[in-house]
């Protein structure tokens, strides 16, 4: 599912919301989450999961192709941790366990 498909689904399921409004809603949700991560904030959505910002220090790395030593600058990356409810919903149903080919 892409963002535009999510927008279409939302417009179908929410009462009295057209495509244009659904688009603004979905964009606002993800823009505000993005803004939070840019500020370095942690996000927590109950029943869904949380995203926290991890800080990585600078280190000396190597270009594997040329063997050249380069300084990798410090960076921040988002880490998602799935919430309990969603974790269970995504995992295999009891009826599916053991029936799947390894």
């Amino acid at each position: 599912m892409t963002k535009s498909e999510l927008i279409e689904k939302l417009a179908q399921r929410a009462n009295g919301i057209n495509l244009k409004v659904a688009e603004v809603v979905v964009n606002t949700v993800f823009q505000s989450m993005k803004d939070a991560l840019v500020r370095g904030d942690r996000i927590e959505i109950r029943g869904f999961g949380s995203i926290k910002v991890k800080h990585y220090a600078s280190y000396m790395g190597r270009n594997p192709k040329t063997g050249e030593t380069i300084k990798v600058p410090p960076k921040k990356l988002p880490f998602f941790k799935v919430g309990k409810e969603l974790k269970q919903r995504v995992d295999l149903k009891p009826s599916e366990r053991g029936e799947r080919k390894p």
């Binding site: 599912m1 963002k3 939070a36 999961g49 880490f79 995504v90 053991g98």
Partner: protein, 93 residues
């Protein structure tokens, strides 16, 4: 940031009541959860992708007792941030 902050943003931008804003934000996450539950990935351009991965059964060890155990096959959810998000997070030090 919690869902209440997202609801507030929607409230300010869209002109719904607080209650309508809360309902529509809940619905956004519910649609995403239902999609992931069907093992379908969700890709939000400019933000990132939520990806369902199939994990095979493997042998593991209880780190406390050292006892060998079988880890059952399972499905897990991972998140891959988009390049746009990674760049935005690293542009202002």
């Amino acid at each position: 940031m919690t869902k209440a902050d997202i609801v507030n943003q929607v409230y300010e931008k869209v002109g719904f009541s607080k209650r309508e804003s809360a309902e529509v934000v809940d619905l956004v996450f519910e649609i995403i959860k239902e999609t992931l539950e069907r093992s379908e990935n969700v890709k939000i351009s400019g933000f990132g992708s939520f990806i369902v991965r199939e994990k095979r059964a493997r042998r593991g060890r209880n780190p406390q007792t050292g006892e060998e155990i079988q880890i059952t096959p399972r499905r897990v959810l991972t998140f891959r941030p988009s390049t746009v998000l990674r760049k935005a997070m690293n542009s202002s030090p």
